[in-house]
Symmetry: C2
Subunit: 384 residues, 2 copies
């Protein structure tokens, strides 16, 4: 690469997907660390925990009893951040006063789900095979389909899909047509996760949240400027050719450390073909997505031989949106993991990062190289 000098000098890289910059300081990884050390993650959990509200047959805070599920299980979050029903709010009209000019609020309603990834209390995605991850992708797709605007250009594709049904608790049909569905997972106590039972969340809202909306604006702009070309299709193609930031790829997906990664071992999984949302995938593509998720999470755990914490989430077309928003959207997954140098030393996005701009120490190319080298069996299996 002509740009190998970027391994040695401080520089900024431009995140085309968000339209923002990040600072890279490759030389800085050498500084000694005297700060906070994370606790090493617990390793030996039971397969079933009678105290866990996510284990099969246990009772939750609201009194409901979980079924004896065998793959995934979905229920409405007992402590949802948004609710389906609430008092209406009509902001005062702009009467030219300072208050009406400066204080802007809007009501948000929505629905929050929890998805148990497996009946086993001690499993994580890293322990699971692609075949075991498949039901999770099917459940995400089912949930997305059930919430899709019937007038969306995606409705056709959604209807044509044949998917196995999913195990669900007290989920009533939503009362409204929501605008966006954010599917995500917080893994590890460092990432605010309060229960180690493998699970993810889904928040569906009347609002189009900041991050996917910022991205869709950038995607739409590129499409306009490049005669209908899709930014992430072009980007995945380039990365697949250049290889230096690739961690894993198969026919349908590229997975690697983006050129503009903020977190030390940040990863994106990108569909190589233009796919707007989960409902655009066929069975082969879902299998290949499951393979990518398995390959990435296993490498993460192998990197520092620990339960690697992260937040991950899917970005795709809104449930309801303009044709341009939906057609510009391009399915991808972000993994944001905080660890930097070992199982106990993380990167802090704090003072300068919060007030100036995000900053990283090792380069994305160095991170990708290390993750590529972590292929193979899960370290825990070898220890058994």
């Amino acid at each position: 690469m002509g740009d190998s000098i970027l391994n040695d000098i401080s520089h900024r890289r431009y995140n085309l997907l968000r339209g923002s910059w990040i600072l890279v300081s490759p030389h800085r990884n050498k500084r000694p660390w005297q700060g906070l050390q994370e606790k090493p993650s617990r390793t030996s959990l039971p397969d079933y925990d009678p105290e866990c509200y996510l284990c099969p047959s246990n009772t939750r805070a609201n009194g409901s009893k979980n079924p004896k599920f065998t793959e995934t299980f979905v229920f409405v979050n007992d402590y949802s951040a948004v609710k389906e029903e609430q008092e209406e709010y009509h902001p005062e009209q702009n009467d030219g006063s300072l208050a009406s000019r400066l204080l802007k609020a809007q009501a948000v309603t929505g629905k929050c789900y929890v998805i148990c990834f497996s009946p086993s209390h001690h499993l994580t995605l890293a322990d699971m095979s692609p075949a075991e991850i498949m039901p999770i992708i099917q459940t995400w797709t089912n949930l997305y389909r059930a919430n899709l605007d019937p007038k969306s250009p995606l409705a056709e594709a959604a209807k044509a899909l044949s998917l196995p049904p999913f195990s669900q608790g007290d989920i009533a049909t939503p009362n409204a047509q929501y605008r966006y569905m954010q599917i995500f997972e917080n893994k590890g106590t460092t990432m605010g996760c309060s229960n180690p039972h493998p699970h993810g969340q889904v928040w569906t809202t009347t609002s189009y949240p900041e991050e996917p909306q910022t991205e869709v604006r950038q995607l739409s702009k590129y499409r306009q400027e490049q005669n209908g070309a899709h930014l992430l299709v072009d980007y995945a193609k380039l990365e697949s050719e250049q290889k230096e930031r690739t961690v894993f790829e198969n026919e349908s997906f590229w997975a690697g450390v983006p050129y503009w990664a903020v977190w030390p071992f940040e990863i994106m999984i990108i569909s190589k073909q233009h796919k707007r949302a989960l409902v655009d995938f066929d069975d082969k593509e879902r299998k290949e997505l499951a393979e990518c998720i398995a390959e990435i999470t296993r490498r993460y755990d192998n990197l520092f031989e620990t339960q690697f914490p992260y937040s991950m989430g899917l970005h795709q077309a809104p449930l309801q949106g303009t044709e341009d928003e939906i057609e510009s959207s391009h399915f991808h997954i972000h993994f944001y993991p905080p660890l930097l140098r070992s199982a106990t030393v993380r990167k802090f996005q704090v003072g300068y990062e919060m007030l100036g701009e995000p900053q990283r120490d090792i380069t994305p190319e160095q991170a990708a190289e290390r993750l590529r080298a972590c292929a193979g069996e899960l370290y825990r299996k070898k220890l058994e």
Copy 2:
């Protein structure tokens, strides 16, 4: 307030300063917490620690010996994120290839300083009186002035200032005219701080970082749309009238929880008059700023009777910029503290927040009310 309904329903608020939204879920504070508990912060540190590289007379990593300083002491960071000298980088020209279109980087040089706030190892801003905080503000001002573009519209004001000199280590004059100076403090191990000796940092770069640049664009837009009015002057005036988000104010500054706060007890200190940067303040204003910093940090520690962690930083005019950038800039300070419910339970900005949009549980008005009630002597003094 007509909008008291916002205490009960989920809603979004618009951050005028950044041009972005955040999600507020007031009802959600009631959920039980089973996740990570922070370690309570250490309380009894010695006044002098022979192992601390920030204490007077001690030797640092690079072999330099700190002087016997009595107020503040400034030196160049031994592990700077940006350097003054590095190999030059000339990105390949845009030749229409995917690589030149999608992979954008630019070199950044700069200088990183550390400022010891006091010779005492165990003090924090919360322990210090306004008179003891004054030298810190004077040092910030001195450093800003020393790095200011001589052609800046601020140069006049800077020259006219009379300030006491500051104690400094191996600080040579910068080799270049840098564009922005980010002054900040990380306090507490939770905020990535690796040494409890009271200190802040200053990173000066050839780039205009994302956050202040995003803000200045919004400030400039408002000024254009409102016939030269300044957003933060109007905003501080409104808050000072409405009072419900005010935590403390004096003649020159308003300090409170912004309407669009992301962190539970986030605070902004805003100059009531239009001031572009530190060099625009006279001695009375510096004293009033010191008073605000003392009042805020003391209340923070009183809130949960702990060493309250935060990242804080100053936003002001760039060292070098267009006339519009400099004249639109308005001096303010952000405090971003992570604690939510006690000394050991923090708010995580993780999955939804990273992938969707920032989210908070208690309302800014509730947070301000609690902080107002924490006035008075520092809890530690009462325990003595």
